[in-house]
């Protein structure tokens, strides 16, 4: 598993660059990851990232876009505005979580 430096910290990532250790994530790292994929973090972005982090703790799985809408309260349409093109994967990446597995 590769180890890379993000925001001055060593973190373990998979071959695509997604963090693999939940505890290695921090808000500084999230900001750096967001910057790499050209996302400017606002309060709305943070609301989703924080929901994903919390939800993962209990579900042990990354929430899908559907779940971010139904449980996290952020409509799918808004997710596409905040994280264009591939919201589910971009949100997971910034939140330091694996890509969502669910089909829907």
């Amino acid at each position: 598993m590769p180890v890379i430096e993000v925001a001055g910290k060593q973190v373990q990532v998979n071959e695509e660059g997604f963090l693999t250790v939940y505890e290695e994530w921090s808000e500084e790292i999230a900001l750096a990851l967001a910057k790499q994929i050209e996302i400017d973090m606002t309060d709305e972005h943070w609301k989703i990232i924080k929901f994903l982090r919390e939800d993962y703790k209990t579900q042990k799985e990354t929430a899908t876009s559907r779940r971010v809408q139904t449980v996290g309260g952020v409509p799918v349409k808004e997710q596409f505005v905040l994280f264009p093109k591939k919201p589910a994967k971009k949100m997971a990446y910034i939140a330091g979580l694996p890509k969502p597995k669910g089909c829907v």
């Binding site: 071959e15 790499q36 799918v76």
Partner: protein, 178 residues
């Protein structure tokens, strides 16, 4: 972990430089509950991958976008030889499938299984697809046969179009017929 080497930064490829303009067109021609889902699941997945997606509803697929019928799609095990007793590999004899109440029971069971996976019902699913940027179109000939106008269809259906309009509109798209 004994690895101490710092690998070069790795950033996932989210298709930033991808201007291939990938497009997907899905033709939904079935109105059975079980056959409504494959197109919706694939459309939703494609949109989540940044693929421009359109769905064309034709023949029985019209029931998916008909205001009067979209909440009442049904699943019948009759004629479906892949239907097994739940949780087993045992076939249910086809002879019992047309029994009264069988369709209602099978529909209820399927809906529950789908809901258990947190997959939305068909109208909600189409809401989500449209919210994700998907486009819905209805088939002219099917509309004429059913004497349907735009007023009978979901408000987010963008139009009733002919087969040739559809072919023109989907130039360069990958296509799925369901």
């Amino acid at each position: 972990m004994t690895i101490t080497e710092v690998a070069p930064s790795i950033v996932p490829n989210f298709g930033k430089d991808d201007d291939s303009g990938r497009k997907l067109a899905i033709i939904c021609s079935k109105g059975n509950l079980d056959m409504a889902y494959p197109g919706l699941i694939l459309a939703n997945a494609a949109l989540g991958e940044g693929v421009d997606t359109m769905i064309f509803f034709t023949f029985w697929g019209f029931d998916m976008i008909s205001k009067a019928r979209m909440n009442d799609l049904q699943f019948s095990p009759a004629g479906n030889t892949a239907m097994h007793l739940p949780g087993t590999n045992a076939h249910i004899p086809q002879a019992v499938m047309p029994a009264p109440g069988m369709t209602a029971m099978a529909t209820k069971m399927l809906k529950k299984q789908i809901a258990d996976l947190d997959v939305p019902e068909v109208p909600d699913f189409l809401d989500q697809i449209v919210a994700a940027g998907g486009h819905l179109w209805a088939c002219r000939m099917s509309a004429d046969m059913n004497k349907y106008t735009m007023a009978d269809l979901r408000d987010d259906v963008e139009g009733i179009i002919s087969a040739s309009d559809f072919i023109e509109m989907t130039e360069g798209a990958q296509l799925l017929f369901i």
